[in-house]
Symmetry: C2
Subunit: 428 residues, 2 copies
Amino acid sequence: MSSSLPRVVIVGAGFAGLRAARQLAGAPVQVILVDQNNYHLFQPLLYQVATAGVSATDIAYPVRAIFRRQANFSFRMATVTGVDFAARQVLTDRGPIPYDQLILGVGGETNTFGLQGVARHAFPLKSLDDAIRLRNHVLRMFELSSQSEDPAARAALRTFVVVGGGPTGVECAGALSELIRLVLVKDFPGLDLSDVQVHLVERMDSLLPGFPPQLSAAAAETLRRKNVTVDFGWQVQDYDGEALCLQDGRQLPARTLVWAAGVQAVSLLKQIGLPTSRQGRVPVLPTLQVPGYENVWVVGDAAYLEEAGQPLPMMAPVAIQQGELAAKNILCQLAGQPLQEFQYKDPGSLATIGRNAAVARINRLKFSGFAAWLVWLAVHLFWLIGFRNRLLVMINWAWDYLFYERAVRLITAQGTIESQPKSSTPDA
Amino acid sequence: MSSSLPRVVIVGAGFAGLRAARQLAGAPVQVILVDQNNYHLFQPLLYQVATAGVSATDIAYPVRAIFRRQANFSFRMATVTGVDFAARQVLTDRGPIPYDQLILGVGGETNTFGLQGVARHAFPLKSLDDAIRLRNHVLRMFELSSQSEDPAARAALRTFVVVGGGPTGVECAGALSELIRLVLVKDFPGLDLSDVQVHLVERMDSLLPGFPPQLSAAAAETLRRKNVTVDFGWQVQDYDGEALCLQDGRQLPARTLVWAAGVQAVSLLKQIGLPTSRQGRVPVLPTLQVPGYENVWVVGDAAYLEEAGQPLPMMAPVAIQQGELAAKNILCQLAGQPLQEFQYKDPGSLATIGRNAAVARINRLKFSGFAAWLVWLAVHLFWLIGFRNRLLVMINWAWDYLFYERAVRLITAQGTIESQPKSSTPDA
């Protein structure tokens, strides 16, 4: 590969970055993908790792394996610390990486809206480690509650609160309730299910914003049928690890709080020095360029772009389509051709609420129940990168479905080990 | 279950503890199994987790699921801190557990023979977390070496040393070499394999002590064919994370040292106050009782017992047979019948050295190569508890075998996260 070819540096191996890199296959450019992890994470299934449905390794795939056959591609595992726009260099913990074109697909992170107790004690659900930590914690709560003699302490151990009525919150609450009622009940013979509470807390008065009202209502109804208590209009004040405090003064003792109430673009964008807008996202032109930088493109959750007066949602389909367009526009620019503007093609919305239940909107079609669940299954398996992962996830799901089992209910040491051999720190 | 039945407390969910608990199914006793983890770990395949062959969750199985159908069984997840023999109580971080009969199957840990640098910088291979940490580290070494400009630093990053010529060391060195030469070489297009070194270091002049000489020789020969440098007669002086120092003054720069050179019984046994012998193991009577305590039994790696003047090896078959006998002897004692003495039925020995290669001794039969490898495969799949895990491991192996892939080459955050929500610490 000639080093005189233009260097396109892509930061972030999420949906947007991956799609952009793939789009540039065969083009007369060098592609350098940078990420702090060596894998792509299929975020839509994170909640399944957290609820012991699939193994962490089933939903992550090594970046190098994905691009093995792409000759103009190389990967750098490094943590980006900044960008020197004047010198056209991405700054990382392993030295600078020069670029001619830069695509930032750095993604989102949990937004706790300044609630310090939530930031400290609640469980986010954005990274593989978040999910494993939540899984370990939930299982540990049952081990502890089986040994606790104090009724109040036991109640708090057996109360699980999910905050946020979006797809992540809905899916997580449904899967958590099923994990407890279908699987753990067999592991803990003394467990009285009437002692166990799963709450889904939502600030507004309906679930799944952006879905048609009848699907939102169907989701709430299905969750209730699965023994999830859906609490509308609850405004979280704070959380201290022992009890959830609401703004009206009420308290709900709970040792587990999953925070799925907000996302924002990663704070790296501010650190880089780019202007940010709502949710910390960087406003971009319809061509996906940052105003004032013709060779810097921001895509996915990190980008702020409106369509029909509404910001585009922070979702995988937007990221994938933007990653594709940014790559195409770079090639247009290099070829001296006019750039295209982004137009979101909405593929619809899907959310699952456990066994046999989901809600789906595809174009004008709206449906819920078993049919929607089958669509959800098919779509997610299709998008999971790599046939092998697809196969393993399918086996796990089939097993779960047929035998009411959760394969991965292990409490591992991840997130609890505080020391490790010095030589394994990335300081070479 | 009547609480007036004798309480048999088993500490440790390893091979010995599991077998003992199973043996007591249906007997007129209460069985309480205590372990700090909620899963049984199939230790013989740990090295496969470390070399990205199988997922951590494939070789671990939740204890509660194993014993779900055993009515007289209950599980306590707790860390044992001591035993009050006078009061007949096991002391744990979650309070005391009274016993009438006590089986200690607490297992072994890595023995670094007082080498402080080794204890600090080398990678042991005894727990699930050890294996994940080693996997992350090995993959990280390749990411770092692909970005390193300094030839000396790069050489150290690409030198992998396994110390110890027993089955764990042999299997680990073989699997590591194959991971690099068959899989990673495809991920790192610029990698020159002549730069990569895998050493197996052994103090004595042959591998696999306890195997017939021709099998030891076959193992060394096979490893060499798989590009492992076998260093006999190397005496380790210490390791500082950068270079291995030998007693004769030689140095080998290497950023990775796997320590598979020694095991000892866990230090908990000393903490409990039991007298210990060689390798920290507790001498037991042939009935497996601790002298002076008719209701305390020690089994597996934790027990010291000689047969024909030789200490029994710290291996799964010994542990399984001792767990069975301890349980039987407890029932004999409760029924007023005479106790049996332990007699080891040696099922043979097996060690694999990667694709299509293993050495096997079964009774008087000794063989190596492909046939031994097939036997190794069958035996290990048979012993993996739980059909589902068996199936998943088989798929991973088939994939690996057919496509020269390693599924699980992810660098995850395990072992590197130093903080977590306070509420997830087991302090309820």
